[in-house]
Amino acid sequence: MKVIKIDKTEWTGGIDKSRAKYLLFGPVKDKDVQNNERYIFKQLSADQFPDMEASDTVLSPKGTVFPQTEKMLQVSLDPSVPDHHIMKRVDTDYSPRAVIGIRPFDAKALTLVNLNFDTKDYRDPYWCDAYQATTFVGLAVNKPSQFDFSTSMGSSPFGEEGLDVLLVDNGSEFLAKVITDKGQSFLDAAGFNKSADESSAQKIEELKAAAEKAVAAKVGTDNLTKRTILELHEAPFWNDIAFAYINCGTCTFVCPTCWCFDIQDETKGKSSTRFRNWDSCMFPLFTLHGSGHNPRGEKVQRVRQRFMHKLKYFLDKYDKGTMCVGCGRCVQSCPVNIDIREVCNIMNNYEPKK
């Protein structure tokens, strides 16, 4: 595996150089509505740089390819206009972009979301065009947070799945592991071309081992495939898990693998746009029928749906592990301390009564 050495003094210069060929996205400091500082992933302006010291972002970077609100189609409702009431795809810029500083578990998460949007029957053009236009330049996590349980979920602080380049912070330099041709093209565009010496691979392995060891939480998933969907669905523990749940949906919004969305039309004057918004299985409206009937009208049904989808349905459907990468965001952000690590262990340890 090829490793490039990037001296940190050359970093901003290279990033600037890459802007000629790439729209850049990365973590930057920002303020939330209550004026608290936190990091978010966003498109960088010409004078902004990805903050490579950023702490984990509250929201995952899924919005870089799957915006929280996204225009899909547009139409004129003015009968005097030719083609009125005939919808057209919104013209969106899908020129090459790079997400810099994405965490390995978040990059893996996007590969799981991709399974939903790029299928043998249908290709979601909005997701696919954005995902395929993007180069993912990841930053390995040297010091995993207390919420990180990625190693239990098929990812790792140094995981490479879904990444094109993996940057490893090695003090005064980044060691850049080139994973794909797309990644090589980005490094070329940035002018990062100094091969690292032979000891660098060893160094990366050492940092990786230390980081993986530092992931404290361990969650069991081995038995999830052995139980049937109905055994887990009908298990007696769901009421206890859902007891504190307050319908807020925070977990689904911060989650890097939650992809559910709503489609809405918005009209201003004679011009209308069809767009999609992130939606959440934790909201009663998500499944409410026109008749008033609601198959998941009770909170326990919605909490069960979220965990069953991530830890059982997805597992059975794709055979690609759970739909959770162990980032820990939902654990950190849940206002009532519902903890997917505990839920996963409960599900994994469950023995149905014979």
Binding site: H85, F117, R276
Partner: protein
Amino acid sequence: MENPYMPYPVRIDDIEIATEDKSLKTFKFVFLNKEDEEKFAHKAGQFAELSIPGQGEIPIGIASSPTEKGFVKFTVFKTGVVTSYLHNMKVGDIMGIRGPLGNWYPWDKLEGKNVVIIGGGFAFTTLRASIVYMLDPANRSKFGKIDVVYGARSPGMLLYRDELYEWEKRDDINMHITVDSTNDPSWKYNVGFVPTVVGQKAPKADPDTFAIVCGPPIMIKFTQPALESLGYGQNQIIMSLENRMKCGIGMCGRCNIGKELVCKDGPVFTLEELNKTPREY
């Protein structure tokens, strides 16, 4: 590959009030581009998203049969934002249709078999498509006996009444029309709920007979034991489900029953398949 969210533009060609309370109307659409009609080729049992620019989309079963060319038909109950708007639209208005979506009744498997169609209320749309499809001269010989149990609250609430009474007269289809109640003394068909009429009139099960059931949850709930007591096995009971939908192509995530998505893996499932799911519909 084409954009699966892009509706085909259509023109409303005809609007017919379908029930006496005017809560249901049947819309006949013609494709603005002839080639779209060919791309839309569907099978009886599938649905489509009716797409009204500026309002939104609704998933509705396709009521016309693939054997009916030159148009597609949908019967729509007025209930929400989009359906209410649609009920006020006029012949000549332009809108969109996205589809066909979902799977269909298993026509390959049903060849050479007897088919019992059981429907209630306004869930008779894809069943109408199925009956027209099977009765088509090119197809009728592919199927054995055809029985239909269809009920509504009152005679005026039955969909496609003219066709029902025509089918009554034929000898290659056994119609069992019923209403919950009526004070019309000239009513010459059945009175009683669908599950009861199924128990009385539907043929007893044999390995070559399959039942297709589509109706409101309460009807489905009570029809199932009626069919089981006639001896129908779980793989001989075929049901069509509804759930709230948006995308119709298996991506937006809301219509799942366990790992199956009603919009893409369904809406048609055998009872055997459904019994393996959490049945969240």
